[in-house]
């Protein structure tokens, strides 16, 4: 294994693996499924192949068994809390892109406290603070204050913000931050610049190394993800599996999670190329394949997905779900729908969602950490 993930991904021919995946045979799939484990990236690629769809039920059973063994009959629940949508980037797929005419806002610290209270009163004890990239309005000092305010009330606070330095991440950890989520969007260095034409997010390498910097700063949880729909999805799935495997070794003190967000309708009207976005079955297949590749990986599914799909995924391999999410700043205290990053699909209340989990024999876990540990 290389010293950095940039070197690791450069040494791995992901297009070859994606080709291998698209062309895997029935016997290739059967051989891996019969072992019950994906021993390497080739095996993983085979498990997300078109030929593997025939074995989705067997894979679901294996994945459910592994998940029960390592995570029990539980589901961790969290809520995203958006503090700013005033973005300087111009990502072609994102509702927050600077070119889009939407209601823009960065919460004051008083508004953050009010929003944290609102999320807390809904029952959440695990929040993900989300901010768009804006070095002036969302400065490191501002985020440090935001984390501190959130950590006063919330036992577990994570961030999903612009990629930052080890020094800034260290400040957030000291303020009570437990986890860092950063989606690479696409791992393909050729595609990346076409999606991120301007702004600080246009630097592929800086974003790619973000989880490694977070680990150095002491983040206990590292969240990864591709944005499914912007590129050949099997390529992205293989890349994120490689990333998680790499971090499992190199950032062994951190719990690694993968989210599998699929493109949703958003302001700006980005349309995915046919074939770039996995179907429901292919998404389920991917969850099972990830579980068979990385048995202790946390897998996250958000409210982007439909109620039926989320209910079906409960117990199959997913270990964390968001609920009742608002993707606009101030959206919990004053619930409305303008200024969103994307539209959510499953809008059940936290208690309705918890009941759905219980109906599946799963215990909803609201609190799983205490910032007193930091």
């Amino acid at each position: 294994m290389k010293d950095t993930f940039l070197e690791e991904i450069q040494s791995c021919d992901l297009h070859r693996l994606a080709d291998l995946s698209e062309n895997a045979s029935d016997s290739d799939v059967k051989a891996v499924v019969s072992r019950g484990v994906a021993s390497n990236l080739e095996d993983f690629a085979i498990l997300i192949s078109p030929a593997a769809l025939k074995y989705i039920e067997q894979m679901a059973r294996i994945s459910a068994g592994i998940t029960r063994r390592y995570f029990g009959r539980t589901m961790r629940i969290f809520a995203p809390l958006y503090v700013s949508n005033q973005c300087v980037n111009n990502c072609v797929y994102c509702g927050f892109a600077v070119r889009n005419k939407i209601e823009r806002r960065t919460l004051s610290l008083q508004e953050v406290a009010r929003e944290v209270d609102a999320v807390h009163s809904l029952g959440f004890r695990n929040i993900l603070l989300v901010a768009s990239e804006n070095p002036k309005l969302v400065s490191s000092g501002y985020m440090e204050d935001v984390v501190r305010i959130a950590a006063r009330k919330m036992p577990s606070v994570s961030i999903e913000i612009a990629p930052s330095s080890v020094e800034d991440y260290s400040k957030y950890v000291a303020a009570g931050c437990e986890g860092l989520t950063v989606f690479q969007e696409t791992y393909d260095p050729e595609v990346y610049p076409t999606l991120h034409p301007s702004g600080p997010k246009s630097v592929y390498e800086w974003r790619l190394a973000t989880p490694e910097r977070g680990a150095k700063a002491g983040m206990r949880k590292l969240g990864l993800g591709p944005l499914l729909g912007v590129n050949r999805w099997r390529y992205e799935m293989i890349a994120v599996a490689l990333h998680a495997k790499f971090l499992t070794h190199k950032a062994w003190r951190s719990q690694i999670s993968i989210s599998l967000p699929r493109m949703r309708p958003a302001e700006g009207g980005y349309v995915c190329k046919p074939g770039n976005i996995p179907s429901d079955s292919e998404l389920v297949l991917s969850v099972c394949a990830l579980r068979m590749f990385l048995s202790r990986l946390a897998i996250v599914v958000s409210t982007r997905e439909s109620r039926a799909l989320r209910d079906g995924l409960m117990g199959l391999g997913v270990t964390q779900m968001s609920a009742f999410s608002s993707t606009m700043p101030g959206g919990y205290a004053d619930r409305k729908e303008s200024g969103e990053q994307f539209r959510i699909d499953d809008s059940r209340s936290p208690s309705e969602f918890a009941e759905a989990l219980k109906a599946k024999g799963l215990d909803p876990v609201w609190k799983d950490f205490d910032s007193a540990l930091i």
């Binding site: 294994m1 499924v33 019969s34 072992r35 019950g36 021993s39 989705i56 039920e57 067997q58 679901a60 059973r61 294996i62 459910a64 499992t248 070794h249 190199k250 062994w252 429901d280 079955s281 389920v284 039926a308 799909l309 209910d311 079906g312 117990g315 199959l316």
Partner: protein, 261 residues
């Protein structure tokens, strides 16, 4: 066999042999040669380190172009002693590789985790390629890896006991978690123990007593070499599910039925 790489050096065989306990240097040489082992360890405390080129003494029996003559620090009871031995070994011509052994307990010769971690950091900082003898403790393995260890050498059972892979479960976690080669060292008494370690995914095995004190060390050395090759091949080509459960039986209540609605 696929190549093993430690500290930028490539090894043709995944069998490492110790040079102690043999009835004579000739038997030792014949055994190592017949087994095709790639590494022969030597206790620095047994070498006359005051000689200008102490490694030449061993080279009379072992061709350094064929084997890595790997000095070990056995006898050291703390990090400082291990450091002194390693530095003397390098001065005496043994190169940068060192097998770090620190065992203050003279009976079971169990490795001291605290001193080993400390010495690994110090030796790595001085440019040594540290292969750390250790108890099979995955957390310690990760800490040693972070401290710069080039290879991790967990004991299968206490030195000389020939009891095999008593620490199997822990070693298997180490193999899963660690980013450095895991070389199972100590306690392997039979070729089947070595094969089992290799089947689990160990990068190599290190054997001494079981070979050196066998009725015919040369034959035993060859037997271990075959076992190592067989185990590695099994690891690389693992087949059917070991659980025995039929994964292709149809479930009464499909878990993915929701996809058809």
């Amino acid at each position: 066999m696929d190549k093993l790489i430690i500290g930028n050096r490539e090894f043709g065989s995944r069998l490492f042999l110790g040079t102690g306990k043999f009835s004579s240097p000739q038997v030792m040489r014949e055994t190592i040669s017949a087994s095709g082992a790639s590494v022969a360890t030597v206790a620095l405390r047994r070498v006359n380190l005051k000689e200008k080129d102490a490694s030449a003494d061993l080279a009379e029996h072992l061709d350094p172009s064929k084997y890595l003559i790997l000095p070990n620090t056995s006898g050291a009871t703390c990090a400082e002693e291990a450091l002194r031995l390693a530095r003397l070994g390098r001065e005496a011509g043994f190169g940068n590789f060192v097998k770090l052994e620190i065992h203050p307990d003279p009976n079971y010769l169990l490795p001291d985790p605290v001193e080993t971690l400390k010495a690994t950091k110090m030796l790595s900082d001085e440019g040594f390629v540290v292969m750390a003898y250790m108890s099979a403790d995955p957390m310690l393995a990760l800490r040693l890896q972070d401290a710069g260890a080039a290879a991790l050498m967990p004991l299968g059972a206490p030195i000389g006991t020939n009891r095999g892979l008593e620490t199997r479960g822990q070693i298997s976690i180490m193999i899963d978690m660690c980013d450095r080669p895991v070389v199972v060292d100590a306690g392997l008494g039979l070729p089947s123990h070595a094969a089992a370690a290799m089947e689990m995914g160990a990068a190599a095995v290190m054997v001494n007593t079981a070979v050196a004190v066998a009725r015919d060390p040369v034959s035993m050395g060859v037997a271990f070499a075959k076992a190592v090759e067989a185990g590695r091949a099994a690891y690389l080509n693992a087949g059917a599910s070991a659980s025995g459960e039929s994964l292709f039986a149809s479930a009464t209540s499909p878990l993915t039925g929701f996809l058809e609605k």
